[in-house]
Amino acid sequence: MQALYAQLLVGLINGSFYALLSLGLAVIFGMLNIINFAHGALYMMGAFVAYFLLNLGGINYWWALLIAPVIVGIFGMILERTMLQWLAGLDHLYGLLLTFGIALIVQGVFQNYFGSSGLPYSIPDQLKGGVNLGFMFLPVYRGWVVIFSLVVCLATWFLIEKTQLGAYLRAATENPTLVRAFGINVPRMITLTYGLGVGLAALAGVLSAPINQVRPLMGADLIIVVFAVVVIGGMGSIMGSIITGFALGVIEGLTKYFYPEASNTVVFVLMVVVLLVKPTGLTGRAA
């Protein structure tokens, strides 16, 4: 029983990465109608930027949490301005392929310069160590990850679903021309949104740097699972992807305990089941 609590908690921690990443994807899909395959690569960049900040600039983890998402976000906005912008109104397929290409380029370049086995990044001193919860030893850093990502997720949700800015964003997704004709600078808004989504990915990257190896392919391995989370939650649904992210972490954690061999597969089984029952995901609107 105690072991089960531990697994639940650990699942929640993983879930917070899923939630952050799928949230970024959902924001981008919801607002730009782009399936951002580059998300994994940008997540990886977040971790690398944190590494550089520390090792080249002597800038610590806390500042990296702030600076890395901004740097990667700006990189994302440049991508949007120079490339993604031209895909507005086209089929999803093109956005997917373009971002897939971008992912290959980014990953390839990083692999060239930093090899494939990666670089070390250690846990900030303030968050080292752990607490004994009785049923498990909880590293402080993991606790921090859960709380911090929860806060970020909810703030993002509020921004998009509950503010006028969010209404603009949602409307612009459907009919950017018309929204622009109402007097809103849609292209700039879209660029910023992409920056936001990308920044979220980078933030997840920084968060994960102390836990996972900082490797060029760290995102590539994750991205398919995160896609599954977004689809299960309902493409483009903000709350859907947050909840599904956390829930999936927990379900995966339980699978790791009861039937570990299936823990990578369970996501896809769930996705098939969910789509069979609810064709547009748990909370999604029609594609």
Partner: protein, 382 residues
């Protein structure tokens, strides 16, 4: 006689194994050609390299094309078991020479052995035996396995378990995790709960590095348990960092800082590497394998362009090279040489950027690898 030779280095140039093989293997092959001294004796030796991208069909297509079009005699390196086995068949079909250094699968010298294949450096059997035996003898008699859930992991776990029990140890539990798992905390919690003295990592690459890193986070080593990585390369240790990797036990058959000869070679090698890295055991294996191959050619007095014949010759000459020392190519194609159990140094003990290992023990070649009577190679059943 014909004194032209063409060698193809088939490796993973861009993926997971690019650091431990890849461009470094090509460099090692070049150095082997230079060091063989054959050029001065009137031989022409050409080298080409290719990227199999970890895809068996790309690997076989390149191999086949090399034999058919480029008239390659010998293929070396080939990390990634799947590709290695696929190429194995092509080499046999084309009667070339295959000196594999990069792949872990023991099948190359067992079920799938061919008269054209020589397997240098390491294999799963050796890794399991060397590590398992040494650690149990050192008192690590209860084990818990984190096993990558596919053939490679299963083979490692199976072989190690056999050694552990044979030496009086016990496996108290284990968990199979899927390939390319990002998060190991669940599994580590289970390992922690098992109270086993040794946590055996029967996995590879990113799975191994991430489990080591996260084990440190969960205070596993601090809590008194020891980690034993069954397959770990120098580049992995570099990637994890000493801070996290310290105290880790594992087996390799080569380390740059073993003796004067290895140091001399490594110095020359790392000067030519873009990254300045010393050779890994796979790259060292490419070098040593080729040196031995050249010896056989020289003994034959020319290149017969008949792979089986050359490999047969290689089997008759004992191996002896600056990197792996003395050993032999057995009838099944397995090369035996000493294996070393290492422990990762503490950061305070490390004196240079690549000064990572402490030698803990040596397993002689004839004990480290599959004994011939246990090999299932069909070449042996005559």
């Amino acid at each position: 006689d014909d004194k032209t030779v063409k060698i193809g280095v088939l490796s993973d140039q861009s993926g997971l194994y690019a650091d431990l093989a890849g461009p470094g293997s090509t460099l090692a092959a070049q150095m082997a050609i230079e060091d063989s001294g054959l050029k001065a004796k009137g031989w022409t030796i050409d080298l080409i390299s290719g990227d199999h991208q970890n895809k068996p069909d790309i690997g076989t297509t390149i191999a086949r094309q090399w034999f058919d079009v480029d008239k390659v005699d010998t293929i070396v390196d080939v990390p990634n078991s799947g590709v290695a086995l696929a190429v194995n068949n092509v080499v046999k079909e084309k009667n070339g020479v295959y000196i594999n250094s990069g792949a872990a699968t023991s099948d190359l010298t067992n079920a799938q052995c061919t008269p054209n294949t020589v397997h240098w450096t390491y294999d799963t059997y050796m890794l399991a035996h060397a590590t398992g035996q040494a650690l149990v003898k050192a008192g690590g008699d209860t084990w818990f396995f984190l096993t990558a859930d596919y053939a490679f992991g299963a083979a490692l776990e199976r072989d190690t378990t056999a050694v552990i029990t044979a030496n009086g140890g016990k496996v108290v539990g284990g968990v199979k995790h899927p390939l390319n798992t990002a998060d190991f905390s669940s599994f580590l919690l289970q390992a922690q709960a098992s109270k086993a003295k040794i946590i055996g990592l029967a996995n590879a690459g990113g799975d191994t590095t991430n489990s080591i890193k996260q084990a440190a986070e969960f205070g596993i080593v601090k809590g008194g348990q020891k980690l034993a990585a069954l397959l770990l390369f120098l580049t992995d240790v570099k990637a994890i960092g000493l801070e996290t990797a310290q105290g880790l036990n594992f087996t390799e058959t080569f380390y740059w800082d073993l003796n004067d000869k290895t140091r001399a070679f490594s110095k020359r090698f790392s000067e030519k590497m873009k990254s300045g890295a010393p050779p890994t055991m796979v790259q060292a294996g490419v070098y040593a394998g080729l040196l031995h191959y050249f010896k056989a050619l020289e003994a034959l007095g020319g290149n017969p362009h008949d792979g089986a014949k050359v490999v047969a010759k290689m089997k008759t000459i004992p191996t002896d090279d600056p990197l792996f020392g003395k050993g032999e190519v057995e009838a099944n194609g397995r090369v035996t040489h000493d294996a070393y159990l290492f422990e990762v140094k503490k950061p305070s003990e490390s004196k240079g950027p690549w000064d990572f290992y402490k030698l803990v023990g040596t397993v002689p070649g004839n004990q480290a690898f599959t004994p011939l009577d246990k090999s299932t190679c069909s070449l042996l059943k005559k």
